[in-house]
């Protein structure tokens, strides 16, 4: 029989998503895939913020508000990251992160 969902379920899911994102950053050679992996890590942190916002009384709704800020910061980070990638791509004509070492 399945148990009721508690704080540890959400935190464990966020941990797995964060580790997957971390592995993506470490393993991938493609810049776009690395950016997607960073977004996974941001999503995991957002789940944590929202979970603590729900389960911890002293935080009230602050966790939700932090999560909203973080979503917006993630979008900005992606926009800047993609711009830098495009600028480097024009220089090198490749998306392999290891070819950007001397830029």
């Amino acid at each position: 029989m399945l148990s009721n969902i508690g704080i540890y379920h959400y935190l464990t899911l966020a941990l797995i998503l964060f580790i997957t994102g971390l592995c993506g950053v470490v393993l991938s050679k493609n810049v776009i895939k690395i950016l997607i992996s960073i977004e996974f890590m941001l999503a995991a942190v957002n789940i944590n913020f929202t979970t603590f916002g729900l389960y911890c009384k002293n935080l009230a709704f602050d966790g939700y508000i932090f999560a909203l800020f973080y979503i917006a910061i993630g979008a900005v980070e992606l926009a800047i990251g993609l711009y830098i990638f495009y600028a480097m791509y024009r220089e090198k004509q490749t998306s392999d992160i290891e070819d950007y070492g001397d830029v």
Partner: protein, 168 residues
């Protein structure tokens, strides 16, 4: 119980598709898997009682970010990824990460079938409804976190100005 029935499939989808995102050879497949992960994360926010966050997650990460990434893929003609060679420090990071993921999955399975004793915080302390959340969020943005909100507006403005200036 309904929450459990929605949570476990959603969690499974998130885990499987996030791993597929990393392992996919074609970058477009990675992007499609990532969209699924972002959408499922929005559902998790909904389960957490944060409807507003869920909507923002779906609109920004489910629609806007994939469009941005798809345009980047189209403009740069990125199709395949070279095979990554795992050596040195990378190897230890991957081994540690794999152990952590396996332990987390075992723990998640254990608490799913009630093998572990009931942990603290097993019930939500707050009784949520959408009106309270909207009220609290708008109140937070325009009172407690006004400075952060304004600073963030400036950051967005700087990004828009910077990108549009450099795009000329």
């Amino acid at each position: 119980m309904t929450t459990a029935l929605i949570f476990y499939p959603t969690a499974l989808i998130i885990i499987i598709f996030s791993i597929l995102t990393i392992l996919a050879k074609k970058i477009v497949y990675s992007l499609i898997s990532a969209i699924v992960v972002f959408m499922a994360t929005g559902l998790i926010f909904y389960l957490l009682g944060a409807e507003y966050n869920a909507v923002i997650q779906l609109t920004i990460y489910g629609i806007a970010v994939p469009v941005l990434l798809a345009m980047a893929i189209m403009f740069t003609d990125v199709k395949h990824e070279k095979h990554a060679i795992i050596t040195g420090a990378r190897k230890y990071v991957i081994i540690t990460a794999a152990i952590l993921v396996i332990m987390s999955l075992v723990y998640l399975a254990a608490i799913a079938v009630n093998i572990t004793p009931n942990p603290p915080f097993s019930d939500a302390n707050t009784n949520l409804n959408s009106f309270r959340i909207f009220d609290a969020i708008t109140d937070g943005f325009f009172t407690s976190y006004l400075a952060a909100f304004e600073l963030f507006s400036l950051l967005l403005l700087a990004v828009v100005a910077g990108v549009s200036d450099n795009a000329k």
